[in-house]
């Protein structure tokens, strides 16, 4: 399931990240923030009004804001 479609407040794990779909800089920043396959992730909040963009997610122990177009490149799997 793509990160931007992940239901809020449900534990999940990053399965794959489609690095090729991301601009170099954003891929690099994602990596330095700790986004890697296998890392626990949870969608926390969605952006304002009708846009529901950007997203706030918890990755590891950190809260990160990212836009849905970047989130779409991150495949997740809900934990049981």
């Amino acid at each position: 399931m793509q990160l931007d479609h992940l239901p809020l407040n449900r534990m999940a794990v990053i399965r794959t990240i489609h690095w090729d779909d991301l601009p170099d800089q954003e891929g690099h920043r994602l990596r330095s923030l700790g986004f890697e396959p296998g890392v626990a992730i949870e969608a926390l909040h969605k952006g304002i009004l009708m846009w529901r963009d950007p997203l706030a997610v918890r990755v590891g122990r950190m809260t990160v804001a990212l836009r849905t177009n970047v989130a779409a490149a991150i495949d997740c799997e809900l934990s049981a």
Partner: protein
């Protein structure tokens, strides 16, 4: 023999509490300068070892890795690697880690330790981690990393002594240089997480303040309302809270001026002191309270962790004009002053977005424009209420702010579309945990801001005022001549040349005159007008009355409105232009900025003037 004290760099992720630790270690003895060749602020200070020997500390910009995504990170890399021309390489590093965020912060720590410099790790904000239900084994972490680890709580000064002891030891007995091993960022992340997992002794569900607060502050509707309310409160405070201190400063300068008038015979020196120095510098220092209140809010928003939430809330709106939430923070700072605003853009990853943000930041109504707005509004707009609690003067002021913001939005769209031709912007940012801002950190920061402003008032504004006073006072109009002193002076003659250009937009001779020194700093326009009228009124009692009534008698309302419209857009202030040149590495962008802003200002003033005239004002 004098030996240079060792240089120690504090380095770590943003939001690890690095600056708080730096403040705790160095106290108020800090120096703010720039790194050679870049405008990234270099904060340095002195700390002492137990035996009293000094050590020089620098607070490096927060970074996520040694392969930089932003200008700030590039400086951190260059200093750590010893690649920054004209800057010595640190003798040791203090890596500041957020204890509650080891999974994500350890990777950068591993990368730094691999550089082989003597290193001590400060496991900071350990109290917050414990509050969140984390128990860590710092000794196990030290063994895993191969460097000493000290638990610290910078804001409570906990762990500072052991940190300095370990640092001294590390400087004396450097560990054998390790060959930096190039491992992939993915492998580093993996290792970081393994270490993090192994040092966590116990983890209980703690109080999740941040999450609960975010549920409110990032609420799709509520979050927007709260942000708007906060901004409204901020601007209300800037005016409401500053009234009294402004009054004190004004009466202080009035007393000083009267004292000099009583103590000295009338003459050139007295005119220089009262009409030049006091009228000019005084009319600017009066705005210190407003500037400090604005900075206070911005510092509080930053220190509490709310600023990135504001960026989150604003991101989608900023995206509509080709920017992102990243631009919101520098633009908000630009309401205080465009210079820190422009400097804050270096955290923006996307270089096109960064450029666009720099180019529009002078459109945010900076505090230097307040003196101009306040004086003109006070003189021309009646202090009547148009509704319960809504004053006409306040509304006009609000309108000027809005005009600046709308102008900036339009300019941003146009610039991103036609100039930088950027198709996308991006928003990717860590949102730190909320914490109570610490009074002494805020106070120190505020003091540094006030000092920068006063230094500016004492140098640029002082010099501009004196030059203007001299230009206005010489040559002396012949005795009994019917030409006024101002018309006869050098400045008056320069203004004669400028007047035909600004006449079509409703500006008179005095305004043409004030525009010249206002290039030094916008607020000088007010002191310039004050000086002009003080000199012209030298022989009568009118000099004692304030500037407002004189303007009201001399200018038409249409002219006053045009003058306000001009200042919404005009790129005045040489410092802003200079910073833009440095930040963009050349004259191309500052020239572009000055040109488009002057064009906008001229058009806006002209349209305002002729519209007002057609209404018979």
């Amino acid at each position: 023999m004098t030996e240079m004290p060792p240089l120690v760099a504090l380095v770590g992720n943003p939001n690890a509490g690095k600056s708080a630790l730096f403040n705790a270690l160095t106290g108020a003895r800090q120096k703010i300068a720039n790194y050679p060749g870049v405008t990234v602020e270099r904060k340095s200070g002195r700390a002492t070892f137990a035996d009293g020997r000094p050590v020089e500390m620098i607070d490096l910009p927060g970074a996520y890795s040694l392969s930089p995504d932003s200008l700030d990170e590039a400086v951190t890399r260059d200093v750590v690697l010893g690649n920054l021309q004209g800057h010595r390489r640190p003798d040791a590093l203090v890596i500041v880690l957020d204890a509650g965020n080891l999974d994500n912060h350890l990777r950068f720590a591993l990368e730094l330790i691999a550089q082989g410099l003597p290193t001590v790790v400060a496991l900071n904000m350990i109290d917050l981690a414990e509050r969140d239900g984390l128990q860590l084994d710092s000794q196990k972490l030290a063994r895993a990393l191969g460097v000493p680890v000290i638990e610290t709580v910078a804001v409570r000064r906990r762990g500072l002594e052991p940190l300095m002891i370990q640092l001294e030891e590390a400087l004396h007995n450097p560990s054998p240089a390790i060959e930096p091993v190039a491992i992939s960022i993915g492998a580093q992340n993996q290792r970081a997480r393994d270490i993090a997992r192994s040092v966590i002794i116990n983890e209980t569900a703690g109080r999740q303040w941040t999450r609960r607060l975010d549920a409110v502050l990032l609420h799709p509707v509520g979050g927007v309302v709260i942000l708007l309310a906060l901004l409204f409160l901020m601007f209300q405070a800037v005016y409401g809270w500053s009234e009294a201190p402004i009054g004190w400063i004004e009466s202080g300068f009035a007393l000083l001026s009267d004292g000099i008038k009583n103590a000295m015979p009338d003459g050139l020196l007295r005119s220089f002191l009262t009409d030049g120095v006091i009228a000019g510098v005084g009319s600017v220092i009066v705005f210190l309270p407003q500037i400090l209140i604005l900075f206070l809010f911005i510092l509080l928003l930053e220190a509490s962790g709310y600023m990135t939430r504001a960026a989150f809330v604003m991101d989608r709106l900023m995206a509509a004009v080709g920017l992102s939430g990243h631009s919101f923070i520098p633009l908000l700072s630009s309401f205080a002053c465009a210079i820190p605003g422009i400097m804050a853009t270096r955290t923006i990853m996307d270089q096109k977005e960064r450029l666009a943000t720099i180019l529009i930041s002078p459109l945010m109504t900076c505090s230097a424009r307040l003196p101009v707005y306040t004086v003109i509004i006070g003189a021309f707009i009646p202090a009547s209420n148009i509704g319960p609690g809504i004053g006409l003067q306040g509304l006009v002021l609000f309108g000027l702010y809005i005009a600046g913001i709308l102008g900036a939005m339009l300019a941003a769209s146009a610039i991103q579309r036609f100039v930088t031709q950027s198709r996308t912007s991006s928003f990717l940012i860590e949102m730190p945990r909320y914490q109570w801002p610490r009074v002494s950190d805020i106070a120190l920061n505020l003091w540094q801001r006030a000092w920068v402003f006063l230094r500016r008032a004492g140098t640029i504004i002082f010099a501009a005022t004196i030059i203007l006073w001299a230009l206005l006072s010489f040559p002396k109009a012949p005795e009994g001549s019917n030409i006024s002193q101002v018309e006869y002076s050098v400045a008056g003659r320069i203004a004669d040349g400028l007047e035909p250009i600004v006449r079509p937009i409703g500006f008179n001779h005095d305004i043409a005159l004030a525009l010249i020194p206002a290039m030094a700093a916008r607020e000088v326009a007010v002191s310039a007008l004050a000086t002009v009228y003080a000199i012209d009124a030298a022989d009568d009692d009118a000099a004692a009355t304030s500037l407002g009534p004189k303007l009201a008698a001399d200018w038409s309302l249409a002219t006053a409105l045009a003058f306000l419209a001009w200042f919404v857009f005009a790129p005045q202030c040489i410092s802003t232009i200079a910073v833009t040149r440095r930040e963009t590495n050349g004259w191309k962008w500052p020239i572009f900025m000055v040109t488009y802003l002057f064009a906008l200002a001229y058009a806006a003033a002209g349209i305002t003037y002729w519209t007002a005239r057609s209404f018979g004002l």
